[in-house]
């Protein structure tokens, strides 16, 4: 009796390992891992060409840049906003939209959060909701333009990135109560303006010996889990994904595609907005009135692609990209920290080829299993 039980268990386990390579998730993960390896190898060769004697040191810094718990806290701190923008881009991808405007939505979210926190003295949880609203408004605009005027969302969201950045600059400059009195071109330190608006630390800063540590990363993970449930376990999520697969077919099936485009962009924008809120409400970063777009929005694109637009995958890819970036910061001044961006861009390029990578994996596995079958038949 006991023996047969263990046999069943054994069969189940071996069945799992046989099925594993054929599962969709496994292939996506393998494709991502292969992309990452190729990206890192490319980065290494690039460093080798640029400065042969320091290349080994450079790649070591990138791979093992996080040596202590403080750096680990920094990694979590920078992972939270890009996790949110990654979710934003990923959700839009699932609906067949390319939201390249996460940067603008992130900026608007940041402004809403800082404004409500500093001027209206809202506590942090309400300020995050304000950030959500700000991002949602800025995400809705490209959605409306797509649904009603047939303007491609890539073009319109790029335009709204710039409009949003200049608008927020204009609004911040004209709200002197928000600005740092000494420097003038940035918002004031949040703790001085409204201590209750700083995202709580719950003692984590002591545990991680770092001021960068707070509960922001956990909030971001909660958002990811919620999005996972919405996309995979609700009718609403199913409709969104159906629109992404085939807009015309889903319209025939009675799904309102126009409404879904707008709703998807609103959700996407809201998520990006929360990213801005989490970053600036941590109380360390001050919004700088500058003329360049915020990169956290664009970093959402590789995060989403690497995570295969799956909210759970995005959690891991955000942590990974943040890991690389914190490691990359320590490359300076020998190499520019943009080395990381080069590596990430190669990773995205490879993940654009994910279809090929997946078919290659599949064909290798198939060849393996055919050989196995042939062997078994011979026996």
């Amino acid at each position: 009796m006991k023996k047969s039980n263990t046999n069943i268990l054994k069969n189940k386990v071996s069945a799992f390992f046989v099925k594993l390579p054929e599962s969709h998730a496994f292939r996506s993960i393998m494709a991502s891992v292969i992309s990452i390896v190729i990206g890192l190898v490319f980065g290494f060769f690039l460093l080798l060409i640029l400065k042969p004697d320091r290349a080994g040191w450079g790649i070591y810094r990138i791979l093992f840049g996080i040596t202590d718990i403080r750096r680990f806290a920094r990694m979590l701190y920078f992972a939270a906003p890009i996790l949110m923008t990654g979710l934003a881009v990923g959700v839009a991808f699932k609906t067949g939209l390319f939201n390249i405007g996460a940067s603008g939505q992130y900026t608007l979210g940041s402004f809403f959060a800082l404004y409500t926190a500093m001027i209206w003295q809202w506590p942090w949880y309400l300020a995050i909701l304000a950030a959500m609203a700000g991002g949602a408004i800025w995400g809705a605009l490209p959605g409306l333009f797509k649904a009603f005027f047939n303007v491609h969302e890539v073009i319109s969201s790029i335009m709204f990135n710039w409009i949003g950045m200049y608008l927020v600059n204009l609004l911040s400059i004209n709200t002197p109560a928000m600005l740092d009195r000494l420097v003038g071109n940035r918002t004031m330190i949040l703790v001085n303006a409204n201590p209750s608006a700083v995202i709580p630390k719950w003692g984590l800063d002591v545990a991680f010996q770092s001021n960068f540590m707070n509960i922001a990363i956990f909030l971001a993970i909660i958002y990811a889990v919620i999005m996972y449930i919405v996309l995979n376990r609700t009718t609403f999520g199913y409709e969104l994904k159906a629109c992404g697969f085939n807009r015309h077919a889903s319209q025939n099936a009675g799904i309102n595609a126009k409404r879904n485009i707008i709703v998807a962009m609103v959700i996407s924008g809201a998520l990006a907005g929360v990213g801005g809120g989490l970053y600036y409400l941590s109380g360390i970063g001050q919004y700088l009135v500058e003329r360049s777009l915020l990169m956290a929005g664009f970093n959402g694109i590789p995060v989403a692609l690497l995570g295969a637009s799956n909210p759970i995958g995005i959690i891991f890819s955000a942590l990974f990209i943040s890991y690389l970036q914190v490691g990359g910061d320590s490359l300076q001044p020998v190499f520019a920290k943009e080395t990381i961006d080069v590596i990430i861009s190669v990773i995205i390029y490879m993940s654009a080829l994910s279809l090929i990578v997946k078919t290659v994996i599949a064909s290798i596995l198939k060849r393996g299993s055919i050989k196995k079958h042939a062997k078994e038949e011979k026996q």
Binding site: F149, I163, Y166, N174, D341, L353
Partner: protein
């Protein structure tokens, strides 16, 4: 009058990169490949050609024939842009990858690579490559008096680079190639209905490679022209001009002559927004601080309004953005 002359003069030199890059994008889309990588292609074109220009900066060749030296710079930019664009072509044509994602990767790669490379070559933190003084053709070459430029000299000669007449030449060439040659007809057919083109013996893959290759060529030259127009030099960015060029292409309805109109309109608004404080008849918004941001927003707001009105009627090449699959019906 002088201010107006300056505005028109700057409008011309900023129209040049927008026009060239938008024409490039048009070639790519007309062949059936969405080229969102124009921004990155511009950066690579400008980077490589400016490295080359700074290399020959003090050479006897440049001193003797500055115009010819600048033209070799144009050629270098064209080749660099084309090679870089082939990365997109390879991924999206042969490997049938998602064209937008591949393009995004190239857009991210180019400026990061430019910073990494200039750091290594010029030293820590020094990412700017300066324009050699001989690249700009002074009005005195045409016999104008620098102190007393008349209106037309101010408009056409005050800021004059060899890329301006080159752009006009390229525009004429593009119209002829696209509408009056067998190659142009075949290229357009691949963007509309590749299966039909294939059935009459057109090599769709080759045509798409050609389309993306030409877009890289023009994009590279456009990047070079932008870096010249920007003034001091090239510092790892073309500040969104590649994306603006995409909007210009859509607004121009994928047709060369309308693209000229669209490009000059956008360039005009860009120049107005940059020079707003120097223009006497524009309101200066003295009651609020940071009024310049209102003007900086203008070109993008205008783009959105224009796109809203024109996109309903716009007709993109039908097969643009769809990988060609021989087996599909």
């Amino acid at each position: 009058m002088n201010v107006l002359g300056d505005i028109l003069s700057l409008t011309i030199i900023f129209t040049v990169p927008l026009l060239l890059v938008a024409l490039g994008g048009m070639f790519s889309e007309r062949s059936g490949v969405v080229n969102i990588a124009l921004e990155g292609i511009m950066v690579i074109g400008a980077l490589v050609s400016f490295l080359y220009m700074s290399k020959i900066r003090d050479s006897a060749f440049a001193a003797a024939t500055p115009v010819l030296a600048t033209l070799t710079g144009v050629a270098v930019a064209a080749v660099a842009g084309m090679v870089f664009a082939l990365l997109l072509a390879f991924a999206s044509i042969h490997l049938k990858a998602d064209q937008t994602i591949g393009g995004t990767a190239l857009n991210m790669f180019a400026p990061a690579f430019a910073i990494l490379l200039t750091w290594t070559i010029q030293g820590q933190g020094q990412t700017a490559i300066y324009t050699p003084p001989w690249a700009r053709i002074s009005p005195t070459v045409f016999g104008a008096d620098l102190q007393n430029l008349n209106f037309f000299q101010r408009v056409f000669l005050k800021e004059f680079f060899i890329t301006t007449p080159l752009a006009i030449f390229i525009l004429i060439l593009v119209i002829i190639v696209l509408y009056k040659t067998k190659f142009g007809l075949r290229l357009r057919s691949c963007g509309e209905h590749p299966q039909a083109a294939d059935s009459v013996g057109v090599n769709v893959y080759f045509m798409r490679y050609a389309g993306v290759g030409i877009s890289g060529l023009l994009g590279g030259i456009g990047g070079f022209a932008y870096a010249l127009a920007a003034g001091a030099g090239f510092s790892a960015t073309v500040s969104g001009y590649g994306f603006l060029a995409l909007a210009v292409m859509i607004f121009g309805n994928w047709k060369p002559l309308r693209i000229v109109g669209a490009a000059s309109l956008f360039a005009f608004f860009k120049v107005i927004s940059a020079m707003a404080t120097a223009i006497p008849f524009l309101p200066s918004f003295q009651k609020i601080s940071g009024g310049e941001y209102i003007y900086l927003m203008v070109p993008y707001v205008v783009t959105m309004i224009v796109l809203a009105f024109t996109s309903k009627r716009s007709r993109a090449p039908k097969a643009s953005g769809i990988p060609y699959d021989k087996g599909a019906r």
